[in-house]
Structure formats: C-alpha cells, structure tokens
Amino acid sequence: MMHSLIQLSIAVLLLPLLSFVVLIFFNRRLPRMGDFIGLGLVGTAFGCALTIFWQVVVQHYDPAFRLAWDFTWLDFGNVPGVGPLQVKMGIVIDNLTAIMLAMVTLISTLVHLYSTGYMHGDPKYGRFFAYLGIFTFSMIGIVLSDNLFSIYMFWELVGLSSYLLIGFYFYKDSAADAQKKAFLTNRVGDIGMWLGILILYSQYHTFGYQEIYEHIKNGDFHMSQAWLTAAGVLLFMGCVGKSAQFPLHVWLPDAMEGPTPVSALIHAATMVAAGVYFVARIFVLLTPEAQQVIAFVGAFTAFMSATIAITQHDIKRVLAYSTVSQLGYMVLGMGVGSYSAALFHLLTHAFFKACLFLGSGAIIHAMHHEQDMRWMGGLYKKMPWTFVTFSIATLALAGLPLTSGFLSKDAILAGALGFAQVEGGGIYYLVPALGFAAAVMTAFYMGRQVWLVFFGESRTHLKPAEDHGHDAHAAHASHGHDDHGHEDHGHHEVHEVPWNMRFPLVLLATLSVFIVFSPDPLDGGKGWFMHLVQTPATVVASTEAAHEGANLSVPEAGKLLAEAHTDTQHVETAPAAHAEAASTEGEGHGPVYADPRQAEIAHMTHANHWNAIKLSSLMLLAGIGMAFIVYVFRIIDPDKTAQNIRPLYLYSFNKWYWDEIYDATIIKGSMLISKILAWFDANIVDGIVNGVATIFRKFAFFNGGVDKYVVDGMVNFTAFTVQTTGAVLRKIQTGKVQTYLVMVVVAVLGYFAFYIAQLIK
C-alpha cells in the first residue's frame, strides 16, 4: 500500500499533465477555451502540494525525513554478466522535494491566474494553458524523480515545453529562432548530463541516486577518480544548459520572445530552477575538483550577466540577465559547498523574481506592449500596486536587509568567503570577489530599472514613431495576439491591471519578506529552511585521500580515507569546536561531516557570516547610491558616460558578443561541415562505392541525362576499367570474319608461346 504522501505527490505530478491533455485536444470546444480547467487542475495540484508541505515540513520538521517509492519500469531479464537487471522509476519525497513542490505549484498556479488576464483574447489562448500544464508537469517530474534516468526524461520534456512556450508566437521569426536556440542549447548541455549518467550506469547498472551513492560510498568505483570528477562535471553540464550558466547562457535572454507569464515561469519556478535543483541532487558525488569548476562557472556567470544587465533597455532583458546572474549565485553556492544556502536562494529568488516578471508583465500590458524602458517613466502614480510590489521584489533582489533575498544571498557569499579561505586563498578569492562585484551591479541596475520605469516623467511621447529597435518585435507580437492591440503607441490611457493580475503580485511580494523564512532578519541560518535542508555529507573520498587514493586499489583508498578521517579528528579540533559553537547558536543541528574539507568549509562559512553581511550591505549601498547618483540626482549623465567608455558600453550592450561568436564558430562551422559532407556523399562516396557507376553512364545511351548523379570529375578506377573494357572489347567484334580467325590464331599461338616460356623456365 502506497503511503498517502506518495499518492498525493503522484496526483501533483499527473494533474498538470491531465490539464495538458484535455486542453491540447479540446480547448476549442470548451468555454473560455478551458482556462478554468488549467487553473483548476494546477490549483488542485497546488493544494495537494501544500498538504505535502504541511505534513512534511510543518508536522515532521525533521531534517532526515525521507520517503521513497518505486516500481519496475523496464525489466531486462537475466542479463548475462550482470544477473537480473531492471530499470526502476520512482518517487522520493524529502524536505527539499516538499518545498520545491509547493514552490513550483504555487508559482505555476499564480502564473495561470495571471495569464487569464494577460493572455486574454489570444487566439491560441487555450493552447497556452495546455503548454503551461505540460511545463509544470515536467518540472514536477524532475522534482519528484528518484533516479537519473527519469530526471533526464523530464529534463528533456522541460526542454520541449520551453520550446513550445518560447515559440508561442511562432509566426515571428525571432520567436522561432529563439525556441530552436533554446532547445538546441539545452541539448548540448543534456549531452554532457547524459554522458555523466552513462558513466555512473556503466559502473553500477542502476540509475537510482541512493544505490549509486551507496556504491560510491563503499568505494567500488572501478575507474580512476578522474572519471568521477568527469561524471560530476558532465552532470553539471546539464545544469549549465538548463540554468543558463556560461557558456550556455545565450538562450535565456532570447527566451524573452515568449509571453511574459512564461518568462516568469521559466525564470522563477521551473526551468532554470531545475538546473540548480539537479546539482543539489548530485551534490554528494561532486569531487572537490568538480566543485571548484562549478564555483568558478557560477561566479563568472554571475559577474558577466550582471555587467550585461546594466546596459539593456528592454525591461524584460534586464530581468533576464539578472536571473542569469542570480543563478550564477546559486551555482556558485553549490560550488563552494554551501548547499543549503544555494537552495535557499533558489527558493527566495523564485518568489521575488516571479514577482518582478509578473510586475514587468503588468507594466508591459499596461503600456500596450511597450518593453523599452527608455519610453517609460512616471508610472508609480498610475500603477501603485505594481509599483509597490515591484519595488519590494527589487529590494529583495538587490539583497536589502529585511528581505528574503538578503538572507540567502548573504549566506552564499559567506560560503564563498569560507571556500576561498579553505582552498588557500589566491585565485580562489576570485570567486567571492566576482560575487560581490555582481552584488554591486545588481543593486545598480535594479535601481536604474525602478527609476526609469516608475519615476521621472512619462517618456512615451519621446519614442520615435517608426522605432523598431532591437525589441520592436514585441510590438509585432501585439499585432498577432492582442485584440485591443496598439493602434498608436502609448498615447493612450495607462491604468492599473485587473485583480487577477494584481493578486499574484501582492502574494509574491509578501513572500519576499524575511519573516517568511527566518525570524532573524540578518541570519537565514536560524530559519526553518536552513534547518530542514542541510548540506548532505559527501560520498566521495576527501581531497588529500582522493589524490593519493585515485590510482590506488579500492580498499587501500578506503583505508586512506579512514586515516584522513581520523587525523581530522585531532588536528582539526579547533574548527570542529567552532563548528559546534556556531551550530549551537544555530539551534544545534549542525551536521557532522565525515569529510574534513566539507567540515572545514562549513566552519569557515559560519566564521565569515558577519564579514559577508558587512561586505554585502556595503556593496548594496554602493550600488544603490550609484544608481541614485546617476539617475536621481543626475550628477553623472548616463548617456555621456556611455559615450566616454563606448567600447566597454558596447561590449556590455552586445552581451559580450557571445551570440556572434557562437554563430561564427559553432553554427557556421557545423553548417559548413554538413555542406562538405553532403557534397562528399553525393559525389565521392556515391562514385567510389558504386563501382559500376559508368554502367549508368552507358545507361545514359538509352535515356538522356540519368547520370547527372554519376558525378563527373571523380576518379573512379573500377568504373573506368569497366567502361574502357566495354568499349575496347566491343571493337574486337569487327564484323569481318577474317579478323575473327586472326584473333583465334593469335589466341592459340599466344597461349602456346606462353606455355613454351613456362617450359623453358
């Protein structure tokens, strides 16, 4: 008998799918194109999720809570060399799952609700909700899966749904490009992930996390440690794709082609979160080397995208790059080993980023699909609700104390500092450094955005009438799908959005306040989240042990590990004590790590807590101050500055030219290769392989021009011989009987002579 929670979770999983199936087939036949079905089903799913949340988080309130269920999906029978072999599919519920479920379904529900307003009147209104359904379904699948295989499946399904949603306005070429780009970029990441999975499977003949981790713990990994690192990094590649980390971040900003609610869903709850969530799932098998890679990737992404965000005009693009940057934080957090902090940020970010996107959606909606911040301004009186909620979310994103964002971001940065110290400083300080730099810029560009959008005078009239700038396609969108579209830009009453779009904003804004997560506005560690989601003990051999142990036989490695363990006990007493102290004040649930490195990082993280707070607040002030200086007091004129540092400006404005680079290298490259190969195929292979090609050439005797496929100019020995032999031998038959006789005599004498030669030898 299944546990009731499992049944609930299955319900949560299947309800959105149901909504998809119903809507995709029947949306035209249903009243209101069946949006209520989508909303209702997903809402119900949210209800179930909430129940799970309640039972798991509130009632049990136990870090170690875990509930699993699975069934045999594939049965390979008695496989030679392995024995009975099955592929199991299943569900695992622990605190993280419960929280994620609640978060995903909540945001999804809100987005549904919001869309009823935003997408109103779109011809494909019903299909939109269907897509939202499958999107939610796949995300929930990822959250619930208990094995790599099913995660991979849902992973790809997320790719599909993003493909469908991003390309929702597929009649726009830009949208069609964006959807293709998103899918392919993700595929690239998936390759890595898939290879990682294959490495693990090839060792243990199973996909389940728990089994694999058990095996690794027992040290029966029969390839070198390097392979394990590789596995970690490769799996992380999946995250790189989905969470839009460098170098695969390029798809996310383009994904803005989708309708704004979709952006909210993608950026907050579903797609990008999946990457980080997955890293969390595989966290325990990441070797230190792998973690360092991750940390650096995260840090760099955070920094780079922040720089880009500064100069963008499109309100959604700014948010998009901020998302990338925030994801960078999370990944960084995973990399530096502050697992729970990263997930914490994932959660908090989900709420305020959703709020931001929906808010921007509201603005765009109100502005009649004007997305360019340069033509906005002075909206705070017209749209008070939006203004308030948007600002709260902004502050949370910037990481102002008293907001949820502060708690999580601060925790990550603390982790970064700790990591840097443990790894022995030097280059490793780059990680926190980049992190803090990003923090400054975040504050700055968010300040800039809020100011440009809400304050000052309305600049709609400034917009050149025939402006079709880099984001004008949004305007085209309205042609397609917006019946109260824009006869003329902007000279039109801007008013607050209806309640079904306002309500989500309010709710999300309230969820961005610190109290929701932690009683202490300065320390997330005291919150329920950090308590429930604790960094799991890694299963890979610790660094020192690993480095020698890598090329040793398994038992010896195990022994070394043991030694390493023991000596940490007496050498590392001091930090251990610290850790105790720190954890006692953190309600005494600090886990004790088998791995010295991990323990040390945890300890240093705690040690750096306050430094982080100080630094980040400093950065925050710096950023916001800068924003004020530039936009409010106008001490510095942004445009002039842009002129002064034009190269930098352009570099940032053009997103570091990544798209151009990829286009020039990878895309052009593969197209070229394909062209070459195709030519090769049509000309060379066909010719060489097809030895009797020139028979077809003769064939052209009987019907003209067949042999245009039998390509000229190729050197084709077989064909050549056949051709010539044919031609020559044919001539022998002269039609004169006497020449025939000559031939015969020649033949006879020829052989005779040949024979005599043999004889003489």
Binding site: D75, F76, V79, K180, D190, S202, S670, Y709
Partner: protein, 545 residues
C-alpha cells in the same frame, strides 16, 4: 499459422490477378483485406507467443522445438551430392524474440502501406500484385529459419521493389531503381557464396545430412573440421563474416554503402518509401542478428569495434548530410541512415542493453520513419514539391498536420516520452557500458544534438515563421481578416483528411504508448536478446556462470 501470415498476400495477389484491371476499388479492397488479415494473424501470433522461450539457437539436444515457437518444418528438397553425401533443404519457419517483433512491425507497416497506396491510379492491378509479392517476401524473410528459404525470400524482394520504384516512382526513377537493384544484388551474391560454404561445413545432428538450417548453423558444434568454414580455417571464416556483413550492411544501409538509399527514397512513391524505411532496412540488421553474428561469434567478437565505429559514422555522418538537404524527403532518408547507425552501435556493444536498444530501435524506427514519410507524402500530394524552403508558416494554416509533424519529428529526435528515446538511450547505455565501445559512444552522443538540429531547423523553415515569398501555396485574406491558403491544384482537404489520419494516428499512439511504457514490446525481446548475448560472448559467459 506462420505459413498463412507469409502467403496470405500472395493469395491476395492471385485473386487480384483474376480481377479485371478496371475494378480498381475491388483490387484495393482485396489487398487491404489481406493486409488486415495479416495484421490479425500477427496479433494472434503475438498472443500465442511465449516470451520465456529464448530461441536464437536450438534447445539442448539440437532440436529447435522448445526454443523456437510456431515451428513449421517440412522436408523440402533432399539432394544427393555424391561424395558430399545428402543435402537437406527444409521449409522451416519459426519465430523467436527477434523475429516476432519484426513480424508485428511488418504486418503493421504493410497495412499502412496499403492505405497509403489508395490514391495510386496508374496500373493499380500491377501495383498491388507486386505490392503483395513484396509483403510476402518481407514476412518470409523474418520467419524463415532455413538459409535457403531465407535467401529465396530475400532475393524475391528485389524484383517487386525494382518495379515499384521504377514504374510508380519519380522523375529519376529508372536510375534509382536499377541502383537499388544492383547494390542489393551485389550484397546478396556474396551471401550466396557464404551460404554454399556454410552448408558444406555444417551437418545437422538430427538428420546427419548437410543442411541449410540456420538453427543448426548457429551451433558451432555442428561444424565439421577441415571444411571451408569449419573450425581450422579461421581466415575463411573471417572473410565469410566480412562479406556477409557487407551484404547485410548494404541493406541497412551502412556507410559507405548507403548511397542507394537517398535516391531510392526520393524517387519511390510514398507507400514504398514507407515500406522501404519501415521494414526493408530492418532486414539488414535482422540478418546480422539472425545469421551474421550467431554463425561467426568469434569473428564478431573481433569485429565489434569496427562495427561500432561504422555505427558512429552512420549516426554523425547521416545527421550532417541531413542537415544540408533541401529536399525534405532526402533529409528524412538521411535521418534513416543516422538512426540505423544507432542500431549498429547497439549491436556492436554486444550486451543486453545495447542489443535490446538496437532491436527496439529497429521497431521504433519502423513506426517513426513510417510516420515521417507519410507526412512528407502529405505535403508532396498537396504542393508537388518537397523543397523545405518553399513553404514557411504552415503551422498557422494546417494545425492538425503540424501537430502530427511535431509528434513525429520529436519522436525522431528522441524526445523522452516517445518511443525513439528509449531505444536510443538503451543503445547508449549498452555501448557505453562496454569498455571497447565506450569511446565510440561518447562520440556518437553528438548525434543527439545534430539530430535535433536538422529536424528543428526543417520544422522551423517549413512550419514556423511567416509564409516565404516564393512559397508554393497562395495566401488570401477574406472579409473578416481571416487568412486562408490553398495549393494551386489541390482539390482535397487542406489539412489532414480522414484516410491520412487513420494511417497516422495509430502510429502516433504506438509511438507515444511505447515511449511511456515499452514493456509490451520489450518483454518479447529480453529472453532472446540475453540468449543471443550469451551465444555471442561464450568467453564472458563462462567467466560469469
């Protein structure tokens, strides 16, 4: 029972022979009935089939009974070869896990084929006679357990195919047809030599005479020492394996023997493309699994790596070529090459996951590619062109068609939840598990991306975006601002009509269902595949058990 399923179409063909050529409808219906009956039989066979019996090789004691099922074994010809003693050729049918899948597939595809042949108007009588002949030959190949019988069916396929492409094909059909014919014959004549060599080398313990029985041949104990392919003449066994492999590889088709395929597909009429891609290509890999590998296991062991490499080449190379194609059908043809590469790769892995993946991929590729070609046919019927760049924006005007296309396309690029994914995944799992093929697998994974690339790109160019200026359909806006399109001389329904849906929907359902829960088909295979793996890797087995 097997005899029925094999010869039903021929009977139908004879009936058609009696029908006057003017009665087109009757002719079509007769063939349809035959195909449906075949389908029913196939389902019955499926029901009777006991998945716990392995097959592949004879049961202990040399008798196929107890290992193969639905056996029909009648002495056919007994020759006195003088000093070489008697030679027995048998009418010997039977199924095991490998064949039953293919039987199901063949039955399914031939029904689809008949349906999609409905619009054909030219020489309907001749067409359906040849069609039925073809479908008998295909079915026969899959159930024959006597090499001679197999060879007869194998060659019997060529002629109908030649005419079906050559008479009902496209503008360049003569070339494509003869090319197909020559290529395949080139492969099979070598097979003839090997076949002869084999019967000289094998004696059936049951009858004590030389035999063509594949079951006897699959047992290395039956080979006579000192004969040309018996133990002791390794080099000839290697050569025999090689030529046999080439013979089958041409059918697969494996790089560099694949060049007949694009031509054949482009010229062939839609139903024939469906048959060709759906069933005929599978014959190549089926032949490998049934004949090539079990008869020469040690050679196979030696050759695994090479086969894998060729598989990888097929995958990548096919994908790249597909990326460059302008003709949609040609693109699909190359995608077939790419996908059959997965099969080769899986076979090369020679472990259960890989082989399962390979066989399952054969089945799925059959259904998926059938869909692809049907869909290509749909657009070709309407626009009389398959130029990818000559459309654009179709999604807005043919939503149902686009929907089905999306399902098929994504199935083909291996999207989870659709059957193609599982087989490809298994192939990778298997090939990655074997240290030998691991590097190959790592390279081939690129195929996933490029596969997605060419499919999505074509999808975008044809269906998304706006109507291309030089598109092959006219766009007009009526009073209410609604847009309508029409193809210049297409009278029928713009979107998919009932007949097309009846062909496509079942396939789609199968693709999705098997993608979600593959066991219905997978369950038939596992025992046989595990047995096959055992047969192929005697050394490893002894190590384990």
């Amino acid at each position: 029972m097997l005899s029925f399923i094999v010869f039903l179409p021929i009977i139908a063909g004879l009936v058609i022979l009696a029908v006057p050529a003017s009665q087109k409808q009757i002719i079509r219906i007769v063939s349809l009935v035959a195909a449906l009956a075949q389908g029913v039989l196939a389902v019955l066979i499926w029901r009777h089939y006991d998945p716990t019996m392995a097959g592949i090789v004879a049961a202990p004691g040399g008798s196929p009974v107890g290992s193969f099922q639905l056996i029909e074994r009648i002495p056919w010809i007994t020759l006195d070869l003088g000093s070489f003693g008697p030679l027995r050729i048998e009418y010997f049918l039977g199924v095991d896990g490998i064949s039953i899948t293919m039987v199901l597939l063949t039955a399914l595809i031939s029904i689809i084929g008949v349906l999609s042949s409905w619009p054909i108007q030219k020489q309907v009588k001749g067409y359906f006679i040849l069609y039925n002949l073809l479908s008998t030959a295909m079915m026969g190949c899959f159930v024959a357990l006597d090499f001679f019988l197999f060879y007869v069916f194998w060659e019997l396929m060529l002629l109908p195919m030649y005419f079906l492409i050559g008479i009902w094909g496209g503008p360049n059909r003569e070339y494509a047809a003869i090319k197909f014919f020559l290529y395949t014959l080139f492969g099979s004549v070598f097979m003839l030599l090997v076949m002869i060599g084999l019967y000289f080398s094998v004696i059936d313990p049951l009858t004590g005479s030389h035999t063509f029985s594949l079951v006897a041949m699959a047992d290395q104990a039956n080979y006579i020492k000192g004969t040309i392919l018996g133990p002791g003449s390794e080099q000839w066994r290697y050569i025999a394996f090689a030529v046999l492999f080439v013979g089958f590889a041409i059918k697969v088709p494996m790089f560099p023997f694949h060049t007949w395929l694009p031509d054949a597909h482009v010229e062939a009429p839609t139903p024939i493309s469906v048959i060709l891609a759906g069933v005929l290509l599978k014959l190549g890999t089926y032949g490998m699994m049934r004949i090539n590998f079990p008869l020469f296991p040690e050679v196979f062991q030696a050759g695994m790596y090479v086969i894998g490499v060729f598989g990888a080449i097929n995958i990548i190379y096919g994908a790249f070529c597909a990326l460059a194609q302008q003709d949609l059908k040609k693109m699909v043809a190359y995608s077939s090459i790419s996908h059959m590469g997965y099969v080769l790769l899986g076979l090369a892995a020679a472990n259960s996951e890989g082989m399962l993946g390979a066989l399952y991929q054969m089945f799925n590729h059959g259904t998926i590619t059938a869909m692809l070609f049907l869909l290509v046919g749909v657009i070709y019927d309407r626009a009389h062109s398959r130029q990818i760049d000559k459309f654009g924006g179709l999604a807005s005007y043919m939503p149902v068609y686009t929907g089905v296309v999306i399902v098929a396309w994504f199935a083909s690029l291996g999207l989870p939840g659709l059957s193609g994914f599982i087989s490809e995944a298994l192939v990778f799992v298997g090939s990655f598990r074997e240290p030998i093929t691991r590097p190959i697998a790592m390279v081939s994974v690129l195929g996933i991306v490029f596969g997605a690339a060419y499919l999505l790109w074509s999808l975008q160019r044809m269906f998304l975006g706006k109507r291309k200026p030089d598109a092959l359909y006219e766009l007009e806006v009526d009073g209410h601002g609604h847009e309508h399109i029409h193809f210049h001389d297409w009278k029928g329904k713009l979107d998919l009509d009932a007949r097309e849906l009846t062909m496509l929907v079942p396939l789609g359902i199968i693709v999705i269902a098997l993608g979600i829960y593959p066991m219905p088909v997978m369950g038939l295979l596992t025992t046989s595949i595990n047995k096959l793996v055992q047969v192929l890797a005697p050394v490893a087995m002894s190590a384990v058990h």
